[in-house]
Amino acid sequence: MADKILMNKNTLAALKVELKEYRESLPIFEMKEQQLVGIVRTLEKDITRLDEAIFDANKKIKSWVAVMSEQGIELSDIVDVDQVISEQKEVVGVTVREFKSIEFKELAIDLLTSPLWVDAAKEAITDQVIRRTTVDYKKKEIALLEEELAEARRMKNALKEVFIPEAIEFIRKIEIYLGDVERLAIGCAKLVKKKKMRKKQAV
């Protein structure tokens, strides 16, 4: 690149404009990186909290889950998912799907003929399904945000480590070169002037 760069005022001016743009972009990418890191951390904390709740629920249910093996009871007749409600949103320029809720089918449970445990089972299943689905959505959100974070970091590092230093170096070289050229021109002009004066004096 340095070999190909044209050592003239036009190039110098263009490089200065580029450097200004790089310097203006850098804080934007730094801020984007910070925001994304913050959001990802929050999501990770949410997932940790939900994973603990899932684990606790599993632990708690083990004391009575034996009833769910009762023959002749189909859990799908007790609780069944109709649809998952999610919403698209923009997070630091990334389009993600945010989990909102789950709609369960309205299933009539005969309170006379169905076993008593069915009520607690329905609640436990419903709660656990919501937790697990929330975790899944948050994990997918993190994956998308981490892709964007990696990109933001790449850009930030490229600006910091490559583009800005390169531009500064090229500008420095061109300024030195142009300075040398100017000094040479001034020197030559002074020499010519001196010679002319000597000629005049000789005459």
Partner: protein
């Protein structure tokens, strides 16, 4: 005549005790499988009992006897049965189910549901503990109704009910139940 035949049957059936221990179960399964003539028959214990009992009952009695199950015993046809014990237990079970229904409604409405309310026949524990209490109530009731019945049709009906109570209890399996729970709560398709 029937009583004489039933005496033979009742005396050869394994004793039923309200226990969950493996030894108790093995004993009952082994003896009833012996009736079926093979160590691991494809049919269930209730079916084996029905078939054995059928040898000593009339056609209409067989039909009624085979219909008896814990799921439907509360129904009117059993409440109105000419078999005393069956009728008594069916009425008891219907009353029990009705009390449970009221308890469930109350819980849904958050009015009550803990010990000490009008439904204090059930103490609020975890769902398994509650089911075991219900089974205990049913067992105690059938034992009470079966007093002084040893070799008659009421004794046979009592035996079947007790067998079904035990089989229901013994069917509760923690590992299987947890597998079912895990499967039911697995992650749903993204975006569904």
């Amino acid at each position: 005549m029937i009583d004489d035949n039933l005496e033979y049957l009742m005396s050869s059936l394994p004793d039923l005790v309200f226990k969950y221990e493996g030894e108790e179960r093995k004993k009952v399964f082994a003896l009833l499988h012996h009736y079926a003539g093979e160590p691991n028959p494809p049919k269930g214990l209730v079916e084996i009992l029905d078939e054995e009992a059928a040898k000593f009952l009339t056609e209409s009695e067989i039909v009624l006897f085979k219909k008896i199950s814990l799921v439907n015993i509360y129904r009117e046809e059993f409440r109105n049965s000419k078999w005393n014990l069956l009728s008594q237990f069916a009425k008891f079970d219907f009353s029990l189910k009705e009390k449970i229904r009221q308890l469930r409604i109350a819980r849904k409405e958050n009015k009550s549901g803990s010990a000490g309310n009008e439904n204090d026949f059930i103490i609020s524990g975890n769902p398994l503990e509650e089911e075991l209490q219900i089974l205990q109530y049913q067992w105690d009731a059938v034992e009470e109704f079966a007093v002084n019945h040893f070799t008659d049709i009421d004794a046979l009906v009592a035996y079947k009910i007790k067998l079904m109570i035990l089989l229901r209890w013994w069917s509760f399996d923690a590992d299987q139940g947890f597998d079912i729970f895990s499967d039911k709560t697995k992650v749903l398709e993204y975006g569904r």
